[in-house]
Amino acid sequence: MAPTLILLIIGVPWAGALLIWWIGDTRSHLQHTLAVLFSLAAAVASILLIPFAQSGTALTLPVGGVFGDFTFVADGMGIFLAAIAAIIGCFAVIFSVNYMHGEAQLGRYYALVLFFIGAMAGLVLASSLLLMFFFWEITALCSYALIAFNNDDPKAVYGGIKALLMTQLGGIGLLVGAILAYSNLGSYDLNLFIKNSGSLPAGALAVAAFGFLIAAAAKSAQFPFQTWLPDAMEAPTPISALIHAATMVNAGVYLLARFYPAFESVPGWKITVVIVGVITALLAGMMALVSNDLKRVLAYSTVSQLGYMVYAIGAGGIFASQFHLLSHSIFKALLFLAAGAVIHSIGTRDMRLMGALGRQMPVTRTVFVIGALALAGIPILNGFWSKELILEAGLLHGPVWAYAIMVFTAGLTALYTFRCVWMVFYGKARSSLHGHDAGIMMKFALIPLAFGALTTWILAGPFSHLLETSLPFHEIEAATTMRFIQEVISAPATLVALGAIALGLAAWWQRENLASLTRAFQGIGKAAEKSFGFEAINTAVTTAFEQGAETLRNTQTGLLSWNILGILAGLIIVLAILAAGG
């Protein structure tokens, strides 16, 4: 049963993608309906797969030759991420029915979304490193094509190409790691790799470990690659919710968590992961505080929350990171989709033009506030429990300074979240824009997600049990949900974090009185608006690259004789190296 379901989760969306692309844009109503049906089928298949969780290979597709077998696993970590991809994907597609209504080229849109859902499920279910790399790149490709969906907008095309370049750069790290594993173990199977990682030469293992870290940082928009995600916000909002908040950006966290047992012993790896997570969470939190673009605020907060997950992995809290991943997927998809409803209704993303929209769109306001409370880590909502588990893991196993910065960032999170909520839904109206509430299909996607943000923490117990029984190499302590609740409530770390969150809230409340203090930090604010100079570094790198290419252009004469000479010279050099090397 499990092999069939795995094939269905990947195959159904892909088949749907082909079909929707094939029926053409003239029948847009049919396209909407089919997209919803196919994504729903994938979501159902992914939920049905959960009881079949097992360790070890679940499905083998022999391809022969150097590729090895293409194998899939159905262990806890994989199926739960596949379920997130398929379910959030389904909600994003349902939301798109209203959001993309009347757009041209729906075929391209839905085909890419469904292609992405299948590829994302494949990425987390694959257990062959090579196959994983293929899916990894397919998700990057879909992400690029969907960011640049409005391809007559230069900003969208720029954002898409930037995302593609940066994630490709990281993909090289994954490929290098995969090839090293193959050359040392003769197999691409990742469970074999984790099991036998000790038998690899220390240097090769270290290269693989840091290669995977680069791949994960690029995919999850971690320091120093965090700049692509905010520019990816030119995508249609359901895409931002699905790819750039709930699923694809989690692939990096998944990669680190999956290979944690293999790389745990590599000297300096864990602390590097912690540092990457801490720096990212802090910088992105500050940038979220000064941004005026609604979607960018959410993008920075995504980067910041991903930093939390990476930090948790560095501190050894695999379960905490995966649990926060679950919570974050739900509340961030909710926030993005609600933001999409706002943007769809008033037609701008600039928060300075919003304000007092709550009365005009009460449903959207309610669900957005639920998502925002979860993001800020207010008790009872899912974000609270998972963030507390991360901070607890960080305090127990990580360095204290990192913990202190993360607690500070928790306060920062509360501050920017409430700034965002206030600027959009409360206060005084700052323009004459008139909003209308979310459409019926939008509500159909928003309300279950809001319900999820309120309740998914109940799954902590079963989820930890699932991970413990099906992951042979990870050390995960399973406990019941009650046990987790007791643990979180009784831990002193919780009080500290809650205090920080309350301080963040108080800072927003007293923002008038703190004006003098704000001025003192104006320098940091200015730097944050310029993304701390990373944008300048990016520009410098691309300019240098372009100039280098322009210089090298002179060597391309286009003349056959010169090209032959080049081939001949290359041949002689290779022969000389072979002769010298014996």
């Binding site: 391309q556 004469t557 286009g558 003349l559 056959l560 032959i564």
Partner: protein
């Protein structure tokens, strides 16, 4: 000084390859370029037969040579057809006329 059969063939192979390479480097007429290419491939073909003989696997070497003959014929046909088209398009057979892609 007497040379064995294998050595004679090897020298021929190297000579054919050298002539072909020289032709590719020096010649600008597209027909002559294709002729040079053909000479090189003939050298390689002989090389396959020689390698089969030296490895004691004569039939493999010869069958590879026959495969190369087939492929090589196709290359020649397409190359000549392209040459005709280029003559019509650019008005000359000079390979220098083909550097327009650079700009």
């Amino acid at each position: 000084m007497t040379l064995s059969i294998s050595e004679i063939i090897l020298i021929t192979v190297i000579l054919l390859l050298g002539i072909g390479f020289y032709g590719l480097l020096a010649v600008r007429n597209l027909i002559k370029v294709i002729v040079s290419l053909q000479i090189m491939v003939k050298g390689m073909m002989l090389g396959f037969v020689l390698a089969g003989r030296l490895a004691g696997n004569v039939s493999l070497g010869q069958s590879l040579a026959i495969l190369v003959i087939v492929v090589d014929t196709i290359v020649a046909i397409i190359g000549l057809a392209l040459a005709v088209q280029i003559r019509r398009y650019a008005g000359s057979l000079d390979v220098k006329a083909l550097t327009t892609l650079k700009r």
